[in-house]
């Protein structure tokens, strides 16, 4: 890989990878006892990134239903005296241990049910802030990217947060990659499309590590030279605010831009003043009286 880029370019650019890991594994994963395999893949992948270049750095954020927490790098170096087994690099042994401990701490501190969405956006926001700070403080070029690993499927409730994160990443030229396991997530797919990252649904856990190393390890500059899986067409249709139906034609409130699947005299998102003006003017003018009479009576 190194031969593809100019030597001086390689010297200047450092890569910061932030792995945002969804630790609320879905029930299928737990039932098939695949969680260990998944975590191993994440740790090995993280180590592979650190090994690529001495300038590469890593951040790992764990997202759980009750919190999102940065688990690597840790502030207090209480676990400094980790002895690397055999001939392993110290930094790798350290990363492995810290990530494992961090995940354990996050997972065991939660006693609730797993059906609640994990706080992916919180984790991504943390990762973005960390990358932005590092970018500002680094002399020379620092490429930041985020890899989201999730198995919990759609999380429509955090739509606005997701979009804010993606647009912020786009402005800072931070690539957001997503690797989903078993359940597709349309929002992460949109995010990858907006920020120019890759989106992949890993078909099996057994092959997860291979997919990670193939699709997500190479930095942005190298990806154009690789044969990567073709992206699917991104579904940008939207869900209406009122019934959460996917719609092709909808009505948008001119004040707050909420989307509705049918004409309504009152916008449920923005407050009172809209209701009255909408009632007086658009109702009478637009000959929508038939549809309006029902809720009024």
């Amino acid at each position: 890989m190194g031969s593809q880029i100019q030597p001086e370019e390689e010297d200047e650019v450092s890569e910061l990878l932030a792995v945002v890991l969804d630790t609320s594994f879905n029930s299928a994963l737990i039932k098939e006892k695949n969680v260990g395999q998944l975590l191993d893949a994440v740790v090995i992948f993280s180590n592979a990134h650190l090994m690529n270049s001495s300038k590469n750095t890593l951040a790992v954020v764990a997202c759980h239903p009750h919190t999102a927490k940065m688990i690597y790098p840790v502030k207090k170096d209480s676990i400094q005296n980790i002895r690397p087994p055999d001939a392993q690099m110290e930094i790798l042994a350290h990363a492995t241990q810290v990530i494992r401990d961090g995940i354990k701490e996050v997972v065991t501190s939660w006693q609730g049910v797993y059906s609640i969405e994990p706080l992916l956006t919180g984790g991504m926001a943390l990762a973005l802030c960390y990358i932005a700070k590092r970018m500002a403080n680094t002399v020379g070029k620092l490429n930041g990217r985020i890899l989201v690993l999730s198995s919990s499927g759609e999380s429509a409730h955090q739509y606005l947060n997701f979009m804010n994160v993606f647009f912020a990443a786009q402005r800072k030229a931070i690539v957001v990659d997503s690797c989903v396991i078993q359940n597709d997530c349309g929002l992460l797919q949109q995010g990858a499309d907006i920020t120019g990252g890759n989106y992949l649904k890993a078909p099996s856990i057994a092959g997860l590590l291979e997919y990670l190393l193939w699709v997500f390890l190479p930095p942005k500059s190298l990806r154009a030279k690789l044969v990567l899986p073709k992206p699917d067409v991104v579904d940008y249709r939207t869900a209406c605010f009122c019934h959460r139906n996917l719609i092709e034609v909808g009505y948008v409130c001119s004040v707050c831009l909420s989307i509705f699947c049918q004409f309504a005299p009152i916008c449920s998102t923005c407050q009172t003043h809209f209701k009255f003006i909408g009632f007086k003017q658009s109702m009478v003018k637009k000959k929508e009286q038939k549809s309006l009479q029902a809720p009024l009576l």
Partner: protein, 390 residues
């Protein structure tokens, strides 16, 4: 600093001598950047405080009127007024669509007592950039005409839907205007149509511009230097507060599905239909199909030429949401010496500087993160990390 100035009545030269340089301090690495950033940030925070709870005109139709009269040859801005303005406008066009994805922009030039259309109202930045590139080679001549320019903009803007915000931004280098009839009538007309006219003057204040902006509710500023001009243009990037008489309504919009390249038959898209008559244009498979009439477009946002439906994609709308639901300002606390805290988001330790606390989740952030969160992210990481806040 800004608030002190505003509180003092009377003239600036009557007030005490300001030691502005003392506000700028070096950080530990000898850098001035952080200190300058802090000042910039303070002004931004002030703006946010003022903006609260104001209804904004999100769907904007903005005409930029560019003076191309002989006065634009003057080189008090480097290299010349016109080159400087064109350079900044180029940047403005890009950022405008970034901030206002469902809005439209058009450019008018005025010279030789006439107004001339450079680009039509559209949601496509490329057309404006082409138009601006063409002006670059022209030598500004003659006198500008305010009235002709406003009339030209009004002729189009008056047909725009009532719920959209109609704006004209005039960049004027000349101190005179040559108009066919009484301009006061035009100003009244503009007011009636709800046109918000703002003027950025490159020379000196002119009464007619002051009157125009005051009556139509716009802003009037005179440029000090290039940076100031950039700042003044940037003020027009954010959506303005809506006028009182603006009508609210439900706008019908289409969210087209992107057709796959394999499953579609090759066809010309509506946006390149006219160009196809004169030059060779690729016939493409794939594209966005209007959900109502199935005509094809190669990019969004667009207005369907066949059925008139506004076609957008959901992220276009979402990009505007941060104007509508702005993040509250964080509370500022100054840390005492020896009091070390950790920034919630970037994990760096802060000592002897200001910390910013989110009032909702009570998490603390450092200055850099506060700037990033409010200027770019528009999402509080602390709140996003707490399930009850979502």
């Amino acid at each position: 600093m800004a608030d002190e100035d505003e509180q003092q009545d009377g003239y600036r030269w009557e007030s005490e001598y300001e030691r502005t340089w003392e506000a700028i301090r070096e950080d530990e690495s000898g850098n001035l950047q952080a200190s300058v950033q802090e000042i910039v940030h303070k002004t931004r925070r002030q703006q946010l405080l003022l903006q609260k709870n104001v209804r904004l005109g999100m769907m904007r139709h903005l005409y930029v009127v560019l003076d191309l009269s002989a006065s634009m040859n003057s080189n008090d801005l480097r290299p010349s007024r016109i080159q400087c303005v064109l350079h900044l406008l180029d940047d403005f066009v890009d950022r405008f669509y970034d901030e206002n994805p469902i809005s439209q922009l058009a450019i008018i030039a005025t010279c030789n007592k006439r107004a001339e259309k450079i680009s039509d109202l559209s949601g496509n930045p490329l057309k404006h950039k082409e138009g601006l590139a063409k002006i670059k080679d022209r030598l500004p001549t003659g006198e500008p005409s305010l009235q002709n320019s406003i009339n030209m903009a009004a002729a189009v803007l008056q047909h725009m839907p009532a719920h959209s915000s109609r704006e004209v931004v005039i960049i004027l280098g000349s101190l005179t205007t040559c108009d066919p009839t009484d301009i006061n009538e035009t100003i009244e007309e503009a007011k009636k149509l709800g046109l918000r006219c703002s003027v950025i003057g490159l020379a000196a204040e002119v009464y007619v511009c002051r009157r125009l902006t005051e009556i139509t509710g716009g802003s009037y500023h005179i440029v000090v230097d290039e940076d100031h001009l950039r700042e003044l243009l940037a003020n027009h990037l954010l959506p303005p507060p809506a006028l009182n008489n603006i009508e609210c309504s439900m706008v019908k919009m289409g969210f087209p599905f992107h057709k796959n390249e394999q499953e579609d038959t090759p066809a010309l898209c509506q946006c390149h239909l006219e160009a196809a008559a004169t030059e060779s244009v690729h016939i493409t498979t794939g594209g966005f199909l209007c959900p109502q009439c199935k005509s094809k477009y190669c990019e969004l946002p667009a207005e369907c030429r066949i059925c008139g439906l506004t076609l957008v994609s959901a992220p276009h709308l979402a990009r505007s949401y941060h104007h509508l639901f702005p993040l509250d300002n964080f509370k500022e606390t100054h840390l005492l010496k020896g009091d070390t805290r950790t920034c919630f988001s970037c994990q760096s330790s802060v000592e002897g500087q200001n910390m910013y606390t989110c009032e909702k989740c009570k998490e603390e952030f450092c200055l850099d993160c506060d700037i990033f969160i409010h200027a770019t992210l528009h999402l509080c990481p602390g709140c996003a990390c707490k399930p009850q806040m979502n």
